[in-house]
Amino acid sequence: MKTLRSTLCYSTAALCALLVSGLPNISLIASESFPTAKVNTTGLAVTDTEVTVGQLHSATGTMAISETGSIQAEQLAIEQINAMGGVLGRKIKIIVEDGASDWPTFAEKAKKLLVNDKVAAVMGCWTSASRKAVLPVFEKENGMLYYPTFYEGLEQSKNVIYTGQEATQQIIAGLDWIAKEKKAKTFYLIGSDYIWPRTSSKIARKHIENVLKGTVVGEEFYALGHTQFGSLINKIKLKKPDVIYAIVVGGSNVSFYKQLKAAGITSDKQTLLTISVTEDEVLGIGGENLTGFYSAMKYFQSLDNPNNKKFVAAFKAKYGVKSVIGDVTQAAYLGPWLWKMAVEKAGSFDIDKVAAASPDIEFKEAPEGYVKLHNNHHLWSKLRIGQWATDGQAKVLYESGLIEPDPFPKGYQ
């Protein structure tokens, strides 16, 4: 832990390299005290000097827009881990595969990574559809997947570590805050039409009706890629909800906020809380179309803590000053670190031992602050409310305590 903290202090790659070249003996010793025959009993791609992990995201196709940040963050984390000596004295080598936004391709590439390449872990997937496609492969071939996206829950697997929030972590605290802060009683729920918004909307509705004693005055879903929200906006004007609760994703997002603004629905007259807009989406929507609206996320780029400052600086040093970091990008950055800690705790790369060692791992240097792995392979994490400003950054107005992950919430199904 001590080396980890001190290395993170050096935010630029150059400094990291200097540090490593000064300490070659440490990694040598580590490698010798963990002989390959002992740390790898199941035939994974682990040698005396190297361990291979896979990376499986969409670099092409419609999802490339969202997954690029995750790809970058994972590579940054791996680079930093290598710069401080790797895992059990072994440098991490990455095999990058492209899922190409196509779910069968994801399954096929997952199989290739596990069966042919024998990777010790895979950082990957983004949409629930791609995760559902690879899950049977990971369970059958006994692989380890680090999945970064906030998602609908209702899933738990020995072979997956979920580094994003499950739905209740993201939804409940946010609704509590807005109900208290804005004295909100009526809610209009709007989402894209697929599993994540539908499940999230269901949880939100149960919480609004049963716990907050409020009313849902409208609940609607639009096909992915829907671009015309004129009729919806008129219905919102008719129903005058205290809060618009938006779970719109992808290109629809841009149309939705542009048209809201053009129809005169702005933050001075209307409260809007969303769980689907991060800094990445704001790039496409334009900060001026979102000014004053709220997002409920576990991470914002503007978080003011030393871990995050280092992370943001390192990310920008590698990918350019203009790059932005959204919630999922940060969650993706956690994956390689959590894997490294689990391997070191287990003293082995064997999947079963890593899975067994994962619960209760604490990562104190996470950019989002302290996180801890739960028995159910999700993370304890905080929920923050950010208010968007014209420059595309959010001002964090509220921060909850650590929330226990509960992928199968009772009373919300």
């Binding site: 690029t68 290109g251 129809a263 005169g264 929507i285």
Partner: protein, 309 residues
């Protein structure tokens, strides 16, 4: 529930809802015009139509970036020039595609379908490699983004009015071109009887190339206009393509008037059913209506009177 509203509030909602329908109508029409020319007049099924729209949208983005960099004072006006630029960019792309690809496939209509679909994938990936996978936002002039308030409770989005005006202008221009100019006459002649047109001295190859280029250019204008209401990304085009074909096929492939009527019908059905039902159900209702009508009238709303060779 409805009783809780005052008459003036309801009037405002109905006014705005009427506008929403008209606005959707002009969006659909603008999308479909370019395709109506290419599909209707030439019989080419251009699956890459959406990507020509995206090319127009990216032209606006480029113009916006260049203006911000070199002539910030020009910012409020650049958008109008960007639209013209979009027409020429997408139009020249169209010219190139016709020359390099389409002209070899006129006798094999099903192969054009496959070839243009492949082209659309290539173009999408080109956008992605050039501009990045993320969506981009051109900085739009402020005068386009507000809303116009004739009364306290009515908000008419200015970008909607702008798209409507542009659609009217383009439709009028296309009609004028088709029915009042020599080039339009040659185009119609070629559609009606290619052999005879060739025999009387019309260079049908040039006509084809120009028709395709104009269709693509109009797609570019549509794409440019939609930066005000939607997103600009590598796959923006694929979001529009289904609706576009819907409008053209439903209207009757070779009829310009059919396209207008069809866009109007689809827009009103969709916007009204979205208002009274819910999001996805609105779309389902619209598609069901179209399916039923096309079962009864397979040739579309306005039957083509062209003698098919």
């Amino acid at each position: 529930m409805m009783l809780a509203y005052t008459t003036s509030e309801l009037t405002s909602i109905f006014t705005m809802q009427g506008f929403a329908g008209l606005s959707l109508f002009s969006v659909l029409l603008l999308m479909a015009l370019g395709l109506a020319i290419i599909f209707g007049q030439m019989g080419v099924i251009n699956m890459a139509h959406g990507e020509f729209m995206a090319a127009g949208a990216y032209t606006v983005y480029l113009c916006s970036t260049l203006t911000a960099k070199f002539a910030p004072a020009f910012q409020p006006y650049y958008f109008l020039f960007a639209i013209v630029a979009a027409f020429f960019v997408s139009g020249s792309l169209g010219l190139l595609v016709e020359w390099g690809l389409i002209r070899f496939l006129y006798k094999r209509p099903l192969d054009t379908l496959l070839a243009t679909w492949g082209l659309s994938l290539i173009m999408q990936q080109t956008f992605r490699s050039t501009f990045g996978a993320r969506e981009v936002t051109p900085t739009l002039p402020d005068w386009l983004m507000g809303s116009f308030k004739p009364t306290e409770t009515i908000d008419i989005p200015i970008n909607g009015v702008f798209v409507m005006g542009l659609t009217l202008f383009i439709t009028a221009a296309v009609m004028f071109f088709t029915f009042k100019t020599r080039a339009g006459l040659r185009m119609r002649a070629t559609v009606q009887n290619r052999m005879m047109s060739g025999a009387v001295g019309i260079n049908t190859k040039v006509v084809d190339r120009l028709t395709f280029a104009i269709g693509c250019g109009i797609a570019g204008v549509a794409g440019a206009a939609f930066t005000t209401i939607g997103s600009t990304g590598p796959d923006s085009g694929s979001r529009y393509i289904v609706d576009t074909f819907l409008v053209v096929v439903f209207g009757g492939a070779a009829s310009m008037l059919g396209t207008v009527a069809s866009a109007f019908g689809i827009a009103q059905t969709q916007s009204i059913s979205e208002f009274f039902l819910q999001g996805t159900m609105g779309k389902v209702t619209t598609l069901l209506a179209i399916v039923i009508i096309l079962m009864i009238r397979p040739q579309g709303l306005f039957a083509s009177k062209v003698r098919r060779a």
